[in-house]
C-alpha cells in the first residue's frame, strides 16, 4: 500500500514552518507532507502546537492578530501565504471542522446551504437542494434529518451537530478537510460513527485530524505525526509509529510514560 501512495505527490507540504504568538514560539521548524486521499493524524500532549500547526493550513491563524507564520506551506504546488492568494478562495478548498460543533443558528438546510450560497456554487434552487442533500448523505446524516430540514441546526444531538458541520464543510466541495479534535466532546458511539465516516470520506477528500486520543489516531489514520513542545518529533506510517517508533520521545508518549 505505502509504496503506491508514496509515488503520488503530497497534496500539501510544509517546510521549515515557524509560528509565533507575539514573542512566544509555538511551532519550531516543522516540515511535513500531507499525502492525498489519506488521513493524517497529528498527536501530542496539550500545548504542543498541533492545533496551531493545523490552523496554518487554511490560514485561520490570520484571524489572531499577534500570530505570525513563517516558512513555506504549499497546497497543490502553490505557496498559500503568497500575498496574491485569496484567503477566501483558499478556505473554500480547505475546509475545517472544529472541536465543539458550531452550527449556525439557522435551519439544517440553511446551514449546509450557506457555503454554496456565498461561493455561488449552485445555478438554481434545485441544484442547491441537490448539493445540500448530497452533502448530508456523504456526512451520513441525511437519513436522520430528511424529514426536518427546516428545523434549527441546534436542535440536533452533539454527534449529529458535528456531522452537520462536516456536511457543511463538504458542501463547498473542498479538497482537504481539517479536523481539530472533532470527537473530543462526543460519546464513544457518536465518535465511532464519525470515524467510520472519515474512513469513507478519505476516498474523495484528504483529511488532517488533530486528536489527543492516541487510540483514535491509531484507529483512523494512515500517517501519524507526533508533536512535542512545538517540534515535530517523528512522523510516518501509523502502523510503524504505534508498533515500533524510532524516537524515544515518541515511544514514551504513546506508551504513557514520563519521558
Amino acid at each position: 500500500m505505502s509504496t503506491d501512495m508514496q509515488a503520488k505527490q503530497p497534496i500539501m507540504t510544509a517546510r521549515n514552518v515557524d509560528v509565533f504568538y507575539g514573542k512566544k514560539q509555538a511551532i519550531d521548524n516543522v516540515s511535513l507532507d500531507i499525502p492525498e486521499n489519506q488521513i493524517t493524524a497529528l498527536i501530542g500532549p496539550s500545548g504542543c502546537g498541533k492545533s496551531t500547526f493545523l490552523r496554518c493550513f487554511n490560514r485561520m491563524n490570520d484571524t489572531i492578530q499577534i500570530c505570525r507564520v513563517k516558512g513555506d506551506i504549499q497546497f497543490a504546488g502553490q505557496d498559500i501565504y503568497d500575498p496574491k492568494v485569496d484567503v477566501v478562495a483558499l478556505r473554500s478548498r480547505i475546509g475545517m471542522v472544529f472541536q465543539k460543533a458550531n452550527p449556525f443558528p439557522k435551519s439544517i438546510f440553511d446551514n449546509v446551504a450557506y457555503g454554496p450560497r456565498i461561493h455561488s456554487l449552485s445555478e438554481s434552487k434545485d441544484h442547491l437542494e441537490d448539493i445540500v442533500i448530497t452533502s448530508l448523505k456523504r456526512a451520513g446524516l441525511y437519513d436522520e434529518v430528511s424529514d426536518r430540514l427546516d428545523e434549527p441546526g441546534t436542535s440536533l444531538s452533539g454527534g449529529q451537530q458535528q456531522r452537520l458541520c462536516i456536511a457543511r464543510a463538504i458542501a463547498v466541495d473542498p479538497q482537504i478537510i481539517l479536523m481539530d479534535e472533532p470527537c473530543s466532546a462526543l460519546d464513544p458511539i457518536a465518535t465511532a460513527i464519525i470515524e467510520e465516516l472519515m474512513d469513507s470520506m478519505k476516498e474523495k477528500y484528504t483529511i488532517v485530524i488533530v486528536t489527543h486520543s492516541m487510540q483514535q489516531a491509531a484507529r483512523v489514520s494512515q500517517q501519524t505525526a507526533f508533536f512535542h513542545l512545538g517540534e515535530l518529533v517523528e512522523s510516518g506510517d501509523t502502523e510503524a509509529i504505534f508498533t515500533n517508533p524510532e524516537q524515544e520521545r515518541t515511544q514514551n508518549y504513546i506508551s504513557g510514560r514520563i519521558g
Partner: protein, 426 residues
Amino acid sequence: MPDYLLTTSPQMAKRHARHTRFQWYGRIAIGISISFMLLMFTAIFFRGIGAFQKTMVAVDVQFTESQIDPSGARDATSLKQANYKPILLQGLQQVIPGATERRDRNNLYKILSNGAAFDLGERVANNPDLIGTSERVWVAASSEVDLYVKGKIDPEEIPEELRRLKDQDIAWVEILRASGQIKKKFNTAFFTSGDSRNPEMAGILSAALGSFFSLLICFLIAFPLGILTAVYLEEYAKKSRLTDIIEVNINNLAAVPSIVFGLLGLAIFLNFFNLPRSTPLVGGMVLALMTLPTIIIASRSILRSVPQATRDAALGLGASKTQTTFHHVVPLAMPGMLTGTILGMARALGETAPLLMIGMVAFIVDVPKGVTDVATALPVQIFLWADSPEKGFVELTSAAIMVLLTFLILMNIFAVYLRKKLERRW
C-alpha cells in the same frame, strides 16, 4: 445516619444565620425601593388624575347667519374669526335670565373658557351647514369653574375677596349644574391640542409630537452610526494605541453631563450651521450625540459576547470578513443592540437640559407637523407647566408626568419583549 447530617453544629448555625440575615437585608432593601416608587407613582397619580376630565358647559346656541356670516360667503377664515360671544351669551342667558347688567353679562360669560368661542368658530368653519341651525353645544368651562367643579376650590375656606370665583358666579354654576348643563367629561383636548395660556385649553400634543420627532431623528442618526461604529471597532479595527484611546474617549463621553451636548448643539448646529432653532431636527441631533456613546458601548459588549466559534465556522467556510460579520455576528447581536438602543432612547426621552440649550423652551401652541417645525418636548413642557402660577396647571403637570412615565415604561417593556422574542434563536 451520621450525626453531622442530623444535628447542626454552632458553626453551621452561624452560616445559616448569616445566610438568612443577608436574604432579609435584600428583601428590606427591595421593599424600601418599591415603597418609594409606589409613593411617587401614587402621589403623581392622585395629583394628575383630575386632568383627564374637563368640566364642560352645555349651551343652546343659534347659529344665526347674520351674526356669523353676514356676507354669506362661507369663507373659512372669516367664519373662524366671527364673534361668537353674543351667541354663547344668549344661550347662557336662557338659563340664567337675571344676568342682564353689563358686569353680570361679563361675569356670566367668564364661566366659559376663553377658547369656547374659538372652538365654535372651528366647528362652523369645518361644517358651514351649521349656519342657520340651533344646537346644544358642549364647550369648555373656564379654569376656575373647572377647579371648583372638581372640588379643588373650597368657597367656605377662602374669603370671597381672595377668590377669582365670586359667590354669585358659584350660584350660577350651581344652577347650571342642577339642570345638568355642567358635566365632567373626558378631556380629549389634553391629547389633541398644543399648549395654551389657559389651563383648560392646554394639551400635550405639541410636546408629545415634538418628543416623537426628536426621538425619531435621534434614532435615525444614532442607531446606524452607533451600530456601525461598534461593529467597526469590535470586528475590524486592529487593536492599537489609537483604538485604546478611542475606547477611553467613548467611555468618557457616556458620562458627560447632557447639558454639555446642548451647548455643543447651540454652538455648532445653531450658530455655525444656522439650522432652525427649537426644532426636533436639532433636538434630535443633540440627543443623538448624547445617546451615541451609550449605544456604542452596549453594542460592543454584545458583539464581544457573540462566541468566536460562530465567526470561526463562517470564516472556515470561506466567508469574507464582511460576510461573517453581517451574515452571522450582527444578526446574533442585534437583539442586544436593539435593547441597548431602546434603553438609550428612553433616557433621551426624559432629557431636558440639552433641549433647553437649543431653545426648545418656547411656548408652542401649534402642533408641529414635521421635523423642521418649531416644537417643544414632553420634559420641557412639564418644566414649563410646573413653573406656571395658574392653579389649573398643577394637575396638568402631574398628568403630563404620567404620560411621560407611561411612554418610558412602554419603551422599557418593548425592549424586554424584543430581547425575549429574538433571543430564543440562539
